[in-house]
Amino acid sequence: MSKRVVITGMGTVNPLAHSVADTWRAMLDCQSAISPTELFDARTFPTTFSAQVKDFDLNRAIKGAERHVHSGRHCTFAIGAADQAWKQSGLDEVAELDKSRVGIYLGSGEGSLDFDNFTSLMIDAWSEGKVDTSKWAELAFQRMDLYRETEQESNMVLAHLAAHFGLSGPAFNVLTACAASTQAIGEATCLVRDGDVDAIVTGGAHSMIHPYGLTGFNRLRALSTRNDEIPTASRPFEMTRDGFVLGEGASVLILEDYEFAVNRGATVLAEIIGYGASADAFRITDQDPEGDGAATAMRAALADARVEPKDIDYISAHGTATQQNDEVETKAVKSVFGDYAYKVPISSVKGMIGHLIAAAGATELITCVLAIRDQVLPPTINYNVKDPKCDLDYVPNKPRPAKVDTVMSNSFGFGGQNNTLIIIGPR
């Protein structure tokens, strides 16, 4: 018999704020976290701005931060977010918690590249149009650091969280680009349902705001280049949208077996009732233009949740603000929801916080839980000109009070991974 899966804790470190409460307040205040890139000199890049996490100091956020001194930027965000979630869940106060029954399932990105050394090596060992690997090795052994190099493997965030909480249950990291943390939460749900774990720490962390990350997305022409209108550059579903804004951060949720949570007197924040996953199997560069893959994930989640499209009160969109994503997502919603697509409110918080890549879905799921708690929908900001191809109700420009109980959250990744979650309020 499959177990019910509930959310009992949430934490986030993102460009808007370093806590769930402050993030939500900023979103309901329609704030934008997008500003000129300060992490490195990006003034001559096609895109000069991003959504950066500012002034986050792990030493102030948690006790015992010195253990994590080698961790990459995204990893410090993850530890901070996970610590908040863990405390909210109350698991830190459970005496005799069986930590072999507590797992970790993350969608975390690669660690922080040692950019200066990595790059200078390619210059200093350059010879006749290629890297002289013999010289490169000699210099690399002098310059490169064991910890910085090892921490780049994306599974290292698991190691830090396992150490921080003392966990020994199953541990997975997935990296399905922009869908990763939604996928992680979905697969974590499957582990709880099957009774493999009593509780699981899940979500995602990522920072691609480094010179090669920005380069990669700029070369793909995926980013907004609205360098003259930085705070309003991210315009999901809007006519003048010209790409996403690269963000960074981490969001973590604690999922538990409902019975386990209730028996220990935990406060249930929401329940995960549906998960769907699919692949476009179309092209590495483009989404399926008809949105068939995205629709498949949404339908699978609805079937898994045993609810009908008309039961969905709100859709938290992937809504990246690229021309392609927003049009395809709109098509997919119409194909799944039929006429009801015009009635169900849809919004994308990426107008405010940018695109946190692997961490995006978990951050957005937190906003879904809060939407149910406060009966209010977060807005799609910077929405001025309607795109005839995107003609649904995107909750433009201001939050909206609404009756919300059943919510769908979508994430789609480069290369065609599609993941959808459905949650309901506490019962």
């Binding site: 003034r43 490169w136 090795a137 698991l158």
Partner: protein, 437 residues
């Protein structure tokens, strides 16, 4: 597992052979495929050997209409694409890759879960662009932003995203079902296959291409593993004898490139189409430990817990296990941790259960290694033979695994395979021989 899942296809790409028959024959004969590194000039490294693929061309494994895409495949992606193609063909399932036939599976019920690692960028490719943005011998952000970045192909980033292994595979085969990319180092393949079995068992897919692929045989990979002090540095003169897992003379691992994919399938579907069933996946366990951040003093990532869970989820006792496929990196401190983990999980039964480690033949394949371990496990159920462990003569201190330097004929019904990552995650799977009905 709630419900067993069938293994109906095996696809491997390894230094000792491409294709499961060639590979398993080579392992059975104790072949040594580790040699001098020729992929790049490794003269600046203390360890200059590795397991390189021989005569490998990804183009052979890609439908004609998709051959152009090989240009945007990093080595890891090429390996994954080839291993997946071999697994699919071996299974008899017709996918979109067969351009002249109809698919005989609902695309939305065919999934893909692949273990992958951190793919290193080609230093010459990036270096060519970087060296257009140098001022006074130093990298100039201003020049890079202005024109340096234009020297990279627009799709540059897509060569190196770990999920691109699964993306190319799903596109080639028209696999529109659940898709995932697990990045947990050496535990990745086992985790991906375990998760895939669960996905089928829970009903979200009918068949899944599952496994892993990786190559760290590039300067960055060799550097990182050297910094970790994991490589054997005493084997440059005799590479085939250099990597000696669990042997008293073990002195480090060698890097390899490769991977393995399994075609997992709903058991009723497999039986009803008369597929060859190599094995049933009957048990899965995963765990982690808290020592993963102390990368200089590794642990086995909770492998004891993973193995115990895998065995109990299979509904069997340790003494019912007939064969063990160990991870066996050949790094002394890792071998020692691993042996302790198997001992903890298996107890006194361990001494009587024949075991094998294949790293001595092919090197460490990281995210791809588990897939090759499971191919060996599945073949053993078919042949009823435990392959030899290359370069094993006598047990290292504290090693309780029952290894041998020669093949052994055994009655094999249950095989356990396990692995663990640098970083502290582990996973294990139990395969069972399909009983005839």
């Amino acid at each position: 597992m709630t419900r067993p899942v069938a293994v109906t296809g095996l696809g491997v790409v390894t230094p000792a052979g491409i294709g499961v028959e060639e590979f398993s024959t080579a392992i059975h004969e104790g072949a040594g495929a580790i040699g001098e590194i020729t992929l790049f000039d490794s003269s600046g490294f203390d360890c200059r050997i590795g397991g390189q693929l021989q005569g490998f061309s990804a183009r052979k494994f890609v439908p004609k209409s998709y051959r152009k895409a090989v240009k945007v495949m990093a080595r890891d992606i090429e390996i994954a694409v080839a291993a997946a193609d071999l697994a699919v063909k071996d299974s008899g399932i017709v996918t979109r890759a067969a351009e002249d036939q109809e698919m005989n599976i609902d695309p939305k019920r065919l999934g893909c879960k692949i273990g992958a690692g951190l793919i290193c960028t080609d230093l010459d490719e990036l270096g060519t662009a970087v060296n257009t943005a140098v001022e006074n011998g130093k990298f100039s952000f201003v020049k890079w932003g202005k024109h340096g970045i234009d020297n990279l192909t627009p799709l540059w980033l897509l060569k190196y995203l770990p999920n691109m292994l699964a993306c190319h595979v799903t596109i080639i085969h028209g696999a529109e079902g659940p898709s995932n990319t697990i990045t947990c180092g050496e535990a990745s393949s086992h985790l991906a296959i375990g998760e895939a079995a669960r996905t089928i068992s829970q009903g979200a897919a009918d068949a899944i291409i599952a496994g892993g692929a990786e190559s760290k045989l590039n300067p960055m990979g060799l550097l990182r593993q050297s910094l970790l002090n994991r490589l054997c540095v005493d084997g440059n003169e005799s590479p085939v004898d250099a990597c000696r897992p669990f042997d008293s003379r073990h002195s480090g691992t060698a890097l390899g490139e490769g991977g393995g994919m399994l075609l997992l399938e709903d058991i009723d579907r497999a039986a009803s189409r008369g597929a060859r069933i190599y094995a049933e996946v009957v048990g899965f366990g995963a765990a982690c430990d808290q020592g993963g951040i102390d990368i200089e003093t590794p642990t086995a990532g909770g492998l004891d817990k993973a193995v115990s869970k895998a065995i109990s989820s299979a509904g069997i006792e340790p003494q019912q296990v007939d064969m063990i496929v160990a991870h066996g990196t050949g790094v002394p401190r890792e071998d020692s941790c691993e042996c302790q983990a198997w001992k903890t999980a298996m107890g006194d039964a361990l001494a009587d259960i024949p075991a094998v480690a294949i790293t001595g033949s092919i090197g460490s394949l990281f995210a791809g290694g588990g897939g090759t371990q499971l191919a060996i496990a599945a073949k053993a159920l078919e042949t009823q033979q435990v392959p030899p462990t290359r370069n094993f003569a006598s047990c290292a201190d504290g090693c309780h695994l029952n290894l041998a330097d020669h093949p052994r004929s055994e009655k094999i019904k249950y095989v356990v395979s396990g692995s663990f990552s640098i970083g502290g995650q582990s996973a294990a799977l139990v395969l069972k021989k399909r009983e005839s009905y």
